[in-house]
Amino acid sequence: MNIIKYLLKPLSYVGLVATILPAFLLFYDWIPMDRYQQFMLWGSLLWIVTAPWWINKRD
């Protein structure tokens, strides 16, 4: 239970941030397109792998 609360859930949120933040970094020309796409992919995978462990638990 603690692993979910203190590890998986925060990792999911990191995944979401990694999905949205790179677009703004690309917009301001701080990272190139290929790096943006890599961040997006890793962020997405992090969310998809960690979220199922906790997202439906409260109901």
């Binding site: 999905t19 677009a23 020309d29 943006y36 890599q38 997006m40 998809i48 109901d59």
Partner: protein
């Protein structure tokens, strides 16, 4: 094969979906379930088709932003004021409620139309998902305007996706809702990211440039050659009525019958403003970039890959999946109304197979707007009939659920109303040369409501007179 059948029987067969009874109070769900479900459902792969439509039809930027705002507010209000109250009051599916009102006759036709059109919609989602996998496998899929499959490997991809979706849908509302919950927070981020990331390639260097670029480069107000011009009214009505079968047609009673309160209908706002506002705007931006790069017939997968790379492709596959799942679930419920003795999971699986076969034809995606339009034209008068029967008839001193009370197979009032409303709304569509059938959903709903109340009044008055005559004759 036998093992798979046993597994499905044990897992899906034990799920009670209350197809022919009210959902018991112990089974109602919290607000969060509906947010996840509707967000997942309305952020579909097809948003990559509809967003570009406004660009290709030369909508102006101001019309897009205002039209989507007003249209989506009206759509949300339709769920809050019409669909959710009807669902929470009866806690039944539209199919069972209609059977109580109209008898088996009308409901059989309605369920067949529903089952088929839900299947077609789900097939379109599978086609969209496949367009993304095709890009990973370097397989050229059909474009938005192609009609027939050309590649056997393409058909194989469709079969794999279609069967996975069908199996998940057999597990019922609970699993479908939980599955959608997983992806609902993530998908909007991908759409938003893709839109933001592509802005610099259109010349947006600062946020202050956005409106000027939007007006000149994205929604320029000039349609692509051969396309009609879209105005504020097109966008507003499109946003309001593209799901009219779900809200005004009350098809979403299947979902909201599980809601604790009718106010949970507001959950639809999450689907509308994320899926039908932000995602349509984002995919419009992507379409403008594709047009600028010389791609004049882009597939949803192409657009998503251009905007967000492999994550974009993942999003298209999953968005198609989370929309197809509840659609197949509804389709299963509709067909089960025709064959109540067959378990729902078997019917859902059969519908899933039909959906998979339909999905092999790209024409299903290309003509999706037309299918949705026909569906809206047929479904909204039924929504008006059921709404009037639940809320208006008791207030006007008339009996609800007439067919159930009188043990009728055919309720003539429902037949007359349905035929008159479809014919009347089609006539209006034809006379005013509307672009889509579903523009006629509003007149269809109003005609349905008025005709049903008048026809029922006449019918119940005649019944009262004839039973009085019978009583007098018996007395004499």
């Amino acid at each position: 094969m036998k093992r798979i059948k046993t597994f499905l029987q044990e897992s899906a067969g034990s799920v009670n979906e209350y197809e022919r009874e009210s959902v018991p109070p112990s089974k109602v769900k919290g607000f969060k379930s509906f947010v996840g479900m509707v967000s997942g459902e309305h952020i579909a792969g097809t948003e990559f088709v509809i967003g570009p439509l406004f660009v290709l039809h030369g909508a102006a930027a101001v019309d897009v932003f205002w039209g989507l705002l007003v249209g989506n507010i009206l759509a949300t209000l339709s769920w809050v004021l019409l669909c959710a109250p009807a669902a929470v009051k009866t806690r039944t599916t539209i199919f069972y409620q209609l059977e109580r009102i109209s008898g088996k006759g009308v409901v059989s036709i309605y369920n067949s139309v529903n089952g088929l059109l839900f299947g077609v919609t789900a097939a379109a989602m599978v086609g969209v998902s496949a367009s993304a996998i095709g890009i990973v496998l370097n397989l050229k899929g059909p474009g938005l305007t192609d009609l027939y499959p050309e590649n056997p490997l393409w058909v194989a991809i469709i079969f794999v996706i279609g069967m996975v979706i069908a199996v998940v849908a057999t597990f019922g509302f609970d699993r479908v809702s939980k599955f959608a919950n997983i992806f609902a927070p993530w998908m909007p981020f991908v759409f938003l990211s893709a839109g933001v990331a592509m802005l610099p390639s259109l010349g947006v260097k600062n946020w202050s440039d956005f409106m000027a670029v939007a007006q000149n480069e994205i929604w320029s107000g000039t349609p692509v050659e051969g396309q009609t011009k879209y105005t504020f009214w097109h966008i507003m009505i499109f946003a309001w009525l593209c799901n009219s079968a779900m809200h005004m047609g009350l098809a979403d009673m299947s979902i909201y019958r599980y809601a604790k309160k009718a106010s949970y209908g507001i959950a639809s706002a999450f689907g509308m403003f994320i899926g039908h506002y932000m995602a349509w705007v984002a995919s419009g931006i992507l379409c403008a970039v594709a047009l600028k790069n010389g791609i004049d017939n882009p597939s949803p997968g192409q657009i998503a890959y251009m905007g967000a790379g492999v994550a974009g492709l993942l999003c298209v596959v999953i968005a198609g999946w989370t929309t197809a799942n509840p659609t197949i679930y509804r389709s299963g419920l509709a067909i089960q109304g025709l064959m109540p003795q067959v378990p729902r999971w078997k019917i859902t699986l059969a519908v899933g197979i039909l959906m998979t076969i339909l999905a092999c034809f790209p024409a299903i995606v290309a003509k999706l707007d037309q299918f949705l339009g026909i569906y809206a034209l047929c479904a909204t008068p039924i929504g008006a009939i059921v709404f009037a029967d639940i809320f208006l008839l008791p207030k006007l001193g008339m009996l609800s659920n007439w067919a159930e009370k009188k043990q009728l197979k055919y309720n003539p009032s429902v037949w007359v109303t349905w035929v008159v409303a479809i014919a009347g709304s089609y006539l209006i569509y034809y006379l005013f040369s509307f672009d889509f059938y579903f523009f006629a959903a509003i007149p269809g709903w109003v005609i349905g409501l008025v005709v049903y109340v008048l026809a029922t009044k006449a019918q119940q008055r005649m019944e009262a007179v004839s039973s009085k005559k019978l009583q007098v004759n018996e007395y004499n």
